[in-house]
């Protein structure tokens, strides 16, 4: 493999599709969204059919006695206040457009220049992958990026 003295980086780059700026930004945004995820895997109980009697939370037992008001179920509140985060932000911008508000409180971009780290090993990087723009620090890292340790989980950073 190492017989010919040629750049693996340049050779591979010709074969791969080069992502444009918009696609790179999209990819970046996706990566940031992934960092907001609650779970990576699916609900382990998703296949279970819950008996209606199972989730007994306190309120149903207490409200049975002489109390006049029946406690509302969690489902009621789910329906009553159903609004996604995006809806809430949009609503806030319509009703409360003048700062200070949620949007205006966001910290502005830093004045310090960005630093660059290798997407594979985390150390400082001097090079950029030609097709996708991810950073890497050495030929070794670039090679490892094509063979992540676990095939089932590919971030495909480079």
């Amino acid at each position: 493999m190492a017989s010919a003295r040629e750049s693996g980086r340049l050779k591979d780059a010709n074969q791969k599709r080069i992502l444009d700026e918009a696609a790179r930004r999209r990819r970046m945004r996706k990566a940031l969204e992934a960092l907001e995820q609650d779970n990576f895997h699916d609900d382990p109980h998703a296949d279970l059919v819950m008996s209606k009697k199972v989730p007994k939370f306190q309120e149903t037992l207490e409200s049975r006695g002489g109390r006049r008001k029946k406690a509302r179920s969690a489902e009621y509140y789910k329906q009553r206040f159903r609004k996604t985060f995006a809806q809430l932000v949009e609503e806030d911008q319509n009703y409360n457009p003048d700062p200070p508000n949620y949007m205006s409180a966001q910290a502005p971009p830093s004045k310090v220049p960005e630093r660059h780290f290798c997407a594979v090993c985390g150390f400082t990087s001097n090079y950029k992958c030609i097709p996708c723009g991810a950073r890497y620090c050495s030929v070794e890292a670039l090679r490892r990026a094509d063979h992540p340790p676990k095939e089932s989980y590919r971030m495909c950073k480079i």
């Binding site: 990566a31 969690a74 789910k78 949620y102 971009p109 989980y153 971030m155």
Partner: protein, 400 residues
């Protein structure tokens, strides 16, 4: 003037709820979520019921909060029902006033829902909704009488807020939010470990413990990077983390790297080798741009926030920087914030950064103290008032 009055304080965080009656010494810290375990298929675990769970691997989280704001009300209702029940932290809202916290700039419809649920569902006698930071600031003022200002840095699960308080009042124009919190740090750690050595994407719970046990804030980032690059003995940063197996070991631990493998022992143990991960993960709070988030880091945001405050308040703000929230527990956090703010601040001003003994429960203790304040009853809204005037009174009285 102090009044002896019991209040129930609920500091309702996105990761943990800090709850208790004001006369108890410490609040209970209850995970604010419902969890499902692979091993236990019969029931979900609500809050601290997780302690009953033998095998907490592959834990699935159902959270009431999203990006720091309460959106999943059915989940929250179930967690609250558990918290207020006899099993956890019994509350008698018909007699005890309730103090409940909300995030800064909480959206109006969430505020309405909060008011409604506590008055109509939990039948509270009187309610005070307040920002957790207001309580921390109150606590700080009580502990340090005579301070005029306080700059609060609350690094929580969903985000970090930098808030200037002048004479006990927050200056809303000065509030800065950095969208980096403990959740993002844990998820980032999960990603890089999964990419570099072992697939741990499903193990949020365990990796959060890894983060808590092993990560620290570097005092000199590039020097530590150089150390982490070294081999063997010269690398004083690398550590092994023994992962829990949930039969003999319930929580993992950090141990120094053992060059001589003790055969047998290490065969059974699963180990993560942590190197630059230990400090590049908390570093994101200081340089969000490392992950591509175009926002300032904490020290820069502190100076930016103080910059919009009145000039006469600025020296007091620099001298009273208060750190709260779970992310301020990283070793070295206070020192780093102090050093960086010092280097940015005008050199004739004093910079002092305080980290309370328990930054997680600091706001709760503030709430407990506020309950004793003679002004307290003027701050709350009673059920009669709510029934009379509805939400408009609450928006008027509660400054969220």
């Amino acid at each position: 003037m102090a009044i002896s009055r019991e209040v129930f304080v609920l500091d309702n965080g996105a990761y943990t709820a800090k709850v208790g009656i004001s006369n108890s010494e410490h609040p209970r810290v209850i995970p604010n979520c419902i969890m499902k375990a692979k091993s236990e298929r019969r029931r979900p675990f609500v809050g601290d019921q997780l302690e009953d769970c033998r095998d907490a691997s592959g834990l699935f989280y159902i959270l009431p909060f999203q990006k720091g704001y309460l959106v999943n009300w059915d989940v929250q209702k179930n967690v609250w029902d558990y918290i207020f029940s006899k099993e956890c932290c019994p509350a008698n809202f018909s007699e005890t006033p309730l103090v409940v916290t909300e995030p800064y700039f909480n959206f109006p419809s969430i505020q309405e829902a909060m008011t409604e649920i506590f008055f109509e569902e939990y039948e509270c006698k009187s309610l005070l909704r307040i920002n957790a930071g207001d309580l921390s600031c109150y606590n700080y003022k009580k502990k340090n009488p005579g301070t005029l200002c306080c700059l609060l840095v609350d690094s929580g699960y969903s985000f970090t807020h930098v808030v200037p308080y002048i004479k006990g009042k927050k200056l809303k124009q000065g509030i800065r939010r950095i969208d980096v919190g403990g959740k993002m740090l844990t998820n980032h750690l999960k990603e890089i470990i999964s990419y570099r050595q072992l697939h741990v994407m499903d193990e949020t719970h365990v990796m959060n413990q890894v983060k808590e046990d092993a990560c620290f804030v570097s005092q000199n980032f590039f020097r530590d990077m150089d150390i982490a690059r070294k081999r063997d003995k010269e690398n004083t940063i690398a550590r092994d983390y023994v992962l829990p197996d949930f039969t003999t070991l319930r929580r993992g631990y950090v141990r120094s790297i053992d060059p001589v493998d003790k055969a047998g022992e290490s065969e059974q143990q699963q180990i993560l080798r942590l190197n630059n991960e230990r400090f590049t993960v908390p570093e994101i709070m200081f340089h969000p741009s490392d992950l591509g988030i175009s926002q300032m880091g904490i020290p820069e945001a502190i100076c930016h926030s103080i910059g919009v405050c009145p000039v006469e308040a600025q020296p007091h703000l620099y001298a009273n920087i208060l750190l709260t929230g779970g992310c301020s527990l990283f070793p070295g956090f206070r020192e780093r914030v102090e050093a960086e703010v010092r280097s940015r601040a005008p050199d004739d001003l004093d910079v002092q950064v305080t980290l309370p003994a328990n930054p997680v429960t600091y706001a709760w203790h503030g709430g407990a103290l506020l309950g004793q304040d003679s002004e307290f009853s003027n701050m709350t809204v009673s059920r009669e008032e709510y029934e009379e005037e509805g939400h408009s009174l609450c928006f008027e009285k509660f400054d969220i």
